[in-house]
Each structure stands twice: as structure tokens, then as C-alpha cells.
């Protein structure tokens, strides 16, 4: 009888130990399964992006009736997707913005040339949209590859902590992947994206107060300026030149106005889309001071530099949205928020400038699907 209880006890103990071990293994297995599921999702999104890009190339080629060597096309597009932008060395950061700008512009020009070489008759809008598609595919490719890299290392060295870390980051990565994925729809069709909130506001301002005899000039590459009268003031509206998907050279345009033409600007308002917090509603509007331009910070730096030298006050209006909202076709909330933001901009100009002043209004963002 006693022996029976002892064996029972040992059996239970063994069972519990086994159970604990199994639970741990199950946990690892679950994490690996989870990560694998995400990675296969990322891969399918990346592949879809490549297919969409290639198909759009074919469509544009068919539209312009140019002949396309499919094999070469595939090779070239893959080459563009795998191409890298090497950032300048930052050990001695003096003058790094200028170098970075030079490299970015070179990359942009090269992409244009490559696309034009493939389809020489493509229109400007088509070229820009194709470039945007390639850029989206490139980002998707890089994200997929780096996640896959960490996952493989984690498995190879059986490092549960590496896998834990990767798993913890996946929500953010997935958000970025989804955003880029949904941008494909906008870029293939040429519809405005949420990031176009700034340019759309600028375009609405031009439309609302510009009247019929409006002067619009291309003040810098891919960038336009319109002189709009508003309540006895002169508002110089700067935005990227639509409806192709470009963000323009806003810093060059500002430099041209303030430094080369020596126009006495009294204030600058930048309007841009900004990333919202998860708890905030899409289309919330925030006001502030400073320059509201995202990205690498080149244009922000240059405008800040010029404005600080000339002592021009900088105001900003931000339209908040998620990353997905920013890159996919503009949502209704953002579209409606722009009208509210426009009212804010009008109020800021009225309250913070005097009559006969000259004000610069910059609509920041990708102007795809938004004219002029």
C-alpha cells in the first residue's frame, strides 16, 4: 500500500515536471509559429508589391505603345528594388545635410533615368508613380529581409530572447508593412494619399482665394508657387507640382523666395500630415511653432536655417493620422479635417500678420492625385 502511494507521488511529480517542460517548449513553438506566420505574410505582401509594380510598368508601356522586353524589365525592376542609398558618414557631421541632399537627389535622378530608359514615352506623372511604386517595393523588401534575418538568427542559435524581441516588435512592423501595402492602390491609380493633406490644403487655398487670373509658376524643380491675395495680404503658396507623386523641393523654393528674390516674408506656415498616437482620432488638428516636415530632415533643416537667419517666425499646422492613413488613399476623416485646418490657417494668417504683409504657406507632402 505504502509503495503504491510513493509511486503515485513520483508519477505525479514526473508528470508535473514534464508538463512544465512541455509548456515551455509549447511557448517557444508558439512564438516561432507566430513569427513565421507574420514573415509569410510579409513575403506575400512583398511579392504582391513586385507583381503590382511590374504590371503597372506593362500597363504604362501598353498605354504609350512602347515595346517592352519582359525579361529585361524584370531584371531592371529587381535591380531598382534591391538598390541601396548609402548615407554619408556622420563622424564629422558638419555639412552633412548638404551631402545627404546631394545623395538623395542623385538617387532620385537615377530612378527617373532608369524608368525613362525602360519606357521612354512615359509621361511625367506615370514616371513619378512608377518611382513611388518602386520605392514602396524597396521598403517592403528591406523590412521583410531584415525581419527574416533576425528570425533565422534566433532559430539558428536557439535564442529565445532574440525571438521574444522580434515578436515584441512585430505589431509596429506589421503596421508599416500594411501601410506600404495599401499605398500600392493609391500609386497605381494616382489617387491622393493621406500624406497629401498638406498639398491638398494648399491647393484648396489657391482655389478658394486665387480667383481666375492666378499666377502659378514653377519656382523650383517639381515645385510650384502661387501668388494668392488674402485679406489685403499676399500669400505665396508653395507646394509640390501635381498631380504626379512628388514631394517637391520645398527648401529650394523657400530659398529662391527669401534669398534670391529678396522678398520680405513676414511669416511662414507649414502644413503637414503627422503621425497620431494610437489613442488619438484620425484628423485631429494640432497647431504649433517650427517647421512641420517629416522625412530625412533635409528640407526642414534648410528652411529652419534660412528662416532663423532672416528672423522669420515659423508656424505649423499638423493633421494627425496613422501610418496606414498616411500612405493609403486619403480617408474621409482626413479629407474633412483639411477643411477645418484650412480655417485654422486662415485664422493664423489673419491674427499673426498685418495687412500688406507677405506670408508663405507651404503644403508639405506627396501631392499625388492633387493638382496644380
Amino acid at each position: 500500500m505504502n509503495g503504491n502511494i510513493a509511486t503515485d507521488f513520483i508519477m505525479w511529480f514526473l508528470f508535473l515536471a514534464f508538463f512544465a517542460y512541455i509548456m515551455r517548449e509549447l511557448e517557444i513553438w508558439r512564438i516561432i509559429r507566430d513569427i513565421e506566420r507574420y514573415i509569410s505574410l510579409y513575403k506575400s505582401i512583398r511579392d504582391k508589391a513586385l507583381v503590382v509594380t511590374l504590371n503597372t510598368f506593362k500597363e504604362v508601356a501598353a498605354k504609350t505603345k512602347s515595346r517592352l522586353d519582359l525579361k529585361m524589365l524584370e531584371e531592371r525592376v529587381m535591380g531598382l528594388v534591391e538598390s541601396v542609398l548609402i548615407e554619408p558618414v556622420s563622424m564629422d557631421p558638419f555639412g552633412i545635410v548638404g551631402k545627404l541632399k546631394h545623395i538623395v537627389l542623385t538617387g532620385d535622378r537615377t530612378a527617373t533615368q532608369e524608368v525613362k530608359r525602360l519606357i521612354p514615352e512615359a509621361s511625367e506623372t506615370d514616371v513619378e508613380n512608377l518611382k513611388n511604386l518602386i520605392a514602396a517595393s524597396r521598403s517592403l523588401n528591406i523590412i521583410y529581409k531584415s525581419v527574416d534575418h533576425v528570425y533565422r538568427l534566433g532559430r539558428k542559435f536557439k535564442s529565445i530572447w532574440l525571438l521574444y524581441q522580434l515578436q515584441a516588435l512585430l505589431p509596429f512592423v506589421t503596421e508599416a508593412m500594411r501601410a506600404l501595402e495599401s499605398s500600392l492602390e493609391a500609386f497605381t491609380n494616382g489617387f491622393p494619399v493621406g500624406d497629401g493633406a498638406g498639398p491638398l490644403l494648399a491647393a484648396r487655398f489657391i482655389k478658394k482665394f486665387g480667383g481666375n487670373e492666378l499666377k502659378i509658376e514653377e519656382i523650383a524643380e517639381e515645385t510650384i508657387m502661387a501668388e494668392v491675395p488674402f485679406k489685403n495680404r499676399k500669400v505665396l503658396v508653395i507646394k509640390a507640382k501635381g498631380p504626379s507623386g512628388v514631394t517637391g523641393r520645398l527648401d529650394d523654393a523657400f530659398e529662391e523666395i527669401v534669398v534670391k528674390r529678396k522678398i520680405p516674408v513676414k511669416m511662414v506656415i507649414t502644413v503637414d500630415a503627422a503621425l497620431k498616437f494610437e489613442g488619438e482620432k484620425t484628423g485631429t488638428i494640432a497647431e504649433g511653432v517650427g517647421v512641420a516636415i517629416g522625412g530625412l530632415g533635409i528640407e526642414k533643416f534648410n528652411i529652419e536655417k534660412t528662416a532663423a537667419r532672416e528672423k522669420i517666425p515659423l508656424y505649423a499646422v499638423l493633421i494627425k493620422m496613422s501610418e496606414i492613413d498616411a500612405l493609403s488613399v486619403m480617408s474621409r476623416e482626413v479629407c474633412e479635417a483639411i477643411n477645418v485646418a484650412l480655417k485654422n490657417v486662415e485664422r493664423i494668417i489673419e491674427e499673426r500678420s498685418q495687412e500688406n504683409d507677405i506670408v508663405v504657406l507651404i503644403g508639405v507632402g506627396n501631392t499625388i492625385g492633387i493638382s496644380p
Partner: protein, 131 residues
């Protein structure tokens, strides 16, 4: 995108329901077996650990089914608002490829003024609660 998501959701629900049903059947069979053996020999083998283990699997699958069931996949539709310059006539339609905001698309059917695209946006029919 939502098409693909819907397919994945359906597959996941089917898979986990299958596992759930299977494990419940196994538990029932084990219980019956235990009872029958107990009747026959008077001393039943202890199948408790297996039953608990399988019940945990069943519980996990049930949670997964519920989780996937709760996911609402948003339905998007693209809307294009056309507006007349003069009289304010407004019309909504689906945007076509190559359309852009402030593109002139024709004449107003009411006053003959210029109609242009006022805005292009995406409307969500059911708000998502995605993971």
C-alpha cells in the same frame, strides 16, 4: 487586400473549429473508455492527465476561434466628389484611374459651368478591430 484577409480568417476559423471538435470527441471517448473499463475490471486506469491536456488544447482552439470570429474586416469604398464651379451642383461616383483632385471633367448638367473633381477619398463601411 480585404478579400485575402477574409479568406485567411475563414481558414483559421475552420482549422481551429476542427481541432476543437476533435479534442472534445477524444475527451468523450477517453471518459467513456474509463467508465467501461471501470465497470469491467473494477479498477480504472488514471486517464486524468491526458484528459486535462486535451481539454487545454480544446480551450486554446476555442479561444482562437473566438479571436478570429471577432475580427471585423473593413469594407472600403472609394468616393469621388464632383462639384460645379458656379452653382454648387454636387455628384458622387467611383473614381477612375488617372483622376486627380481639381481635374476638370466636363460641363454642369444644370448651369453649363465647369465641373471639377472636388475630392477623392476612401470610406470605411465597418470599422475594423484588427489585431
Amino acid at each position: 487586400m480585404s478579400e485575402e484577409l477574409r479568406k485567411r480568417r475563414f481558414q483559421a476559423i475552420v482549422f481551429h473549429t476542427f481541432i476543437l471538435v476533435l479534442s472534445i470527441i477524444v475527451v468523450i471517448i477517453l471518459t467513456l473508455l474509463n467508465l467501461r473499463l471501470g465497470e469491467d475490471t473494477g479498477e480504472a486506469p488514471n486517464l486524468m492527465p491526458f484528459q486535462i491536456f486535451i481539454l487545454i488544447i480544446a480551450f486554446y482552439s476555442a479561444m482562437e476561434v473566438w479571436r478570429y470570429y471577432k475580427i471585423r474586416i473593413p469594407e472600403m469604398s472609394l468616393v469621388e466628389v464632383l462639384k460645379c464651379n458656379k452653382c454648387g451642383y454636387v455628384e458622387k461616383r467611383r473614381p477612375q484611374k488617372g483622376d486627380f483632385v481639381f481635374k476638370k471633367v466636363g460641363e454642369c448638367p444644370k448651369c453649363g459651368g465647369v465641373i471639377f473633381i472636388e475630392s477623392i477619398y476612401k470610406e470605411v463601411k465597418a470599422r475594423k478591430s484588427e489585431r
